[in-house]
Symmetry: none
Subunit: 206 residues, 4 copies
DNA sequence: TATGAATGAGCCTTCATTCAT
DNA sequence: AATGAATGAAGGCTCATTCAT
């Protein structure tokens, strides 16, 4: 933690910058969630953020950069949170359960963010110049390794590749989030985490 | 089945129209798959289809209508194929297996179609004026009912709602298809169907 | 009157041609009256005429030609009718009265024609490539000469040029027709003729 | 009248905006006069105004709005000017004479404006969604009331309705203006005002 | 830093006209 | 003569981005 003087200095110079950049990014999430990336206008983002249109370009290179920045921050946070949450947990099933809860918690806390991530991310993955898929790949790798470790530890069956299982796991969470985002009903998204994990661990068959 | 002469007559009048509409639709799938809907130009679709730009508007109301038509036809076909494939199959596990194979078969046969459906459909679901989500809902309902029937028949566990299970099932297939579509490697998508179903039925746990 | 055989021949060859050309022209009047020349489409004219779009071009060189043909025929008829109506009439006031009645009668009989003539003719006069203003000039000359004759005969005052008086006379009829065409009320247009002439002859002052 | 400093301030802020809007409107009058509304391009208006095409849309909603704005301003000015000019004048004949002079003065000062008003206004009246005919109706009402007052005051004959007389009066001025606008000769339009009024008051007959 | 007026490239869509049948 | 599917040029309008203030 910086000394008071340092904090004040940074408050005068850095913090407002971070604040405004953040305000614009939050405005972008709201606007993109409402209208979709391509149907949104930079001017709308600026208006919602309470700044002039030109100001957006003091903090972001382009409209694309707004979207990339949203994804970058979201995925980086997700991976960091995920790693932290798994820190002291050794039981493979618990590890998956924690990841599922985190995944749905994060999206469930901010419906706008969920909309943007669930609706626009896939688009962007397709167009590599817009979003380096690295982060998402990192996330899938995190799941895959967790499953592979569980297989090595004898907790998970080994006749299914960790790769396939990771995709099934991620897909299940992803679809659950998408359904929640599209649904009018206001049920708790994170409440679904345990159901999904139970099903995946125990299997649908009796 | 009509007599040859009748078929020739209809081929002279109806077929060319259907052919051109179809050519434009296939061109749209190719172009949208390459560049994404919003970054594609109607003129590109026309060029790929081998017609003039204006001709597109003889068969489709608008650029949006192209996308909607792709979805409509794909989903209608999917549901019809799905219903047909389940016709004589009673074993619940077999029914799910068939649906999974069909799902991945269809997308695996046409990578461009897979790209459009996996990348653009979600966007369009969000904007109901663009695509009535009815068809997709129908598809999810088909899965849900299949699972509920399996539960009633005692084949599937009943401590997980059919709704949750349907989302997990669809999400697993969906993510598998998306991953295949994005991957450079040319593995068979439909080959994944059995793995996914085995995992979902048996569960990841031992 | 031609012999029956001649009539049949002409009915087979010439008459249908004239009929179709006429049908298209009448359709054009109706369509142009409803939407205005520039906002009308050749396809609409064809549909109203009950022919295919391409057929219009068998009888008219272009869309412009449709408008020109409407004006040409209308003005030619008007002048011919006007000359005929003045044939045996020598009293200058009677001559003006007859011209006014004819003018308003003609437009009053066919509201669509009135709309096209009153609304589109002025446009077209401005663009000489579209309509040779000769016909309208001929019409104004007919009025001017009638007034000049009346002046020479001592019936009309001579301290106003026949030219100015002709414009006032035509303008009064023109505005009366325009007002009638735009008005919702269904009063008789030709009934206005005498009022207008009385006013112009007698003057507004006491 | 504001103090110089205040004027300078307002000149710095308000004037440029008004100037640009005005420049575009004047350009539109020039371009529409040359080619007609439908054959003019917004890009031409912009080029003549010395701005980029997109700039037009910062000041006007659409191409239609340009035309409507021209009419609105012209008619509003005409009515205001007319009312002002009649303020202290009581003699009915003088009142009509003043209105006629104003009418022809205004159009005679700006031939382009005259072209647009005389040629395009009628079109627009026909299509009410494009131009609320209210203003023109107001103008006609002003004339009608002036005539009716003159009748009540015993200056004008009463065996002709004020309504008919107003149309004749307006039509005479309108046609005079149209003829001047179309004519190549450069005579003075406002010089015609007295001739027209004399004729209308005194009547063509002896 | 912040503004927001101005820019102008870009694109969907229309529709007069043509021409193979 | 008649059709109507096809053409493709044209233009209104949008909006990401810039830059003078």
């Amino acid at each position: 933690m910086p000394a008071p003087s340092a904090r004040r200095l940074s408050a005068v110079k850095a913090a407002p910058v971070a604040d405004k950049r953040d305000a614009i990014l939050r405005a972008a999430i709201k606007v993109f969630a409402r209208s979709g990336f391509f149907q949104s206008q930079v001017a709308d983002v600026a208006r919602v953020a309470g700044v002039a249109a030109g100001t957006v370009y003091l903090y972001f290179r382009s409209k694309d950069d707004l979207l990339v920045s949203i994804f970058d921050r979201t995925m980086k946070d997700a991976i960091a949170e995920g790693r932290a949450a798994l820190a002291g947990v050794t039981d493979p099933v618990d590890r998956l359960r924690r990841m599922a809860r985190l995944h749905l918690d994060r999206l469930g806390r901010d419906r706008d963010l969920a909309v943007v991530v669930q609706v626009e991310l896939r688009q962007s993955i397709k167009f590599m110049e817009r979003f380096s898929s690295t982060h998402l790949q990192d996330y899938l790798n995190l799941i895959r390794r967790t499953i592979a470790d569980g297989q090595a530890a004898g907790a998970f069956r080994t006749d299914v590749s960790a790769n396939t299982a990771a995709k099934v796991f991620f897909g299940a969470l992803d679809e659950t989030a998408t359904n929640w985002m599209l649904s009018r009903r206001k049920y708790s998204l994170s409440g679904e985490a345990d159901n999904v994990v139970d099903l995946l661990i125990g299997g649908l068959g009796r």
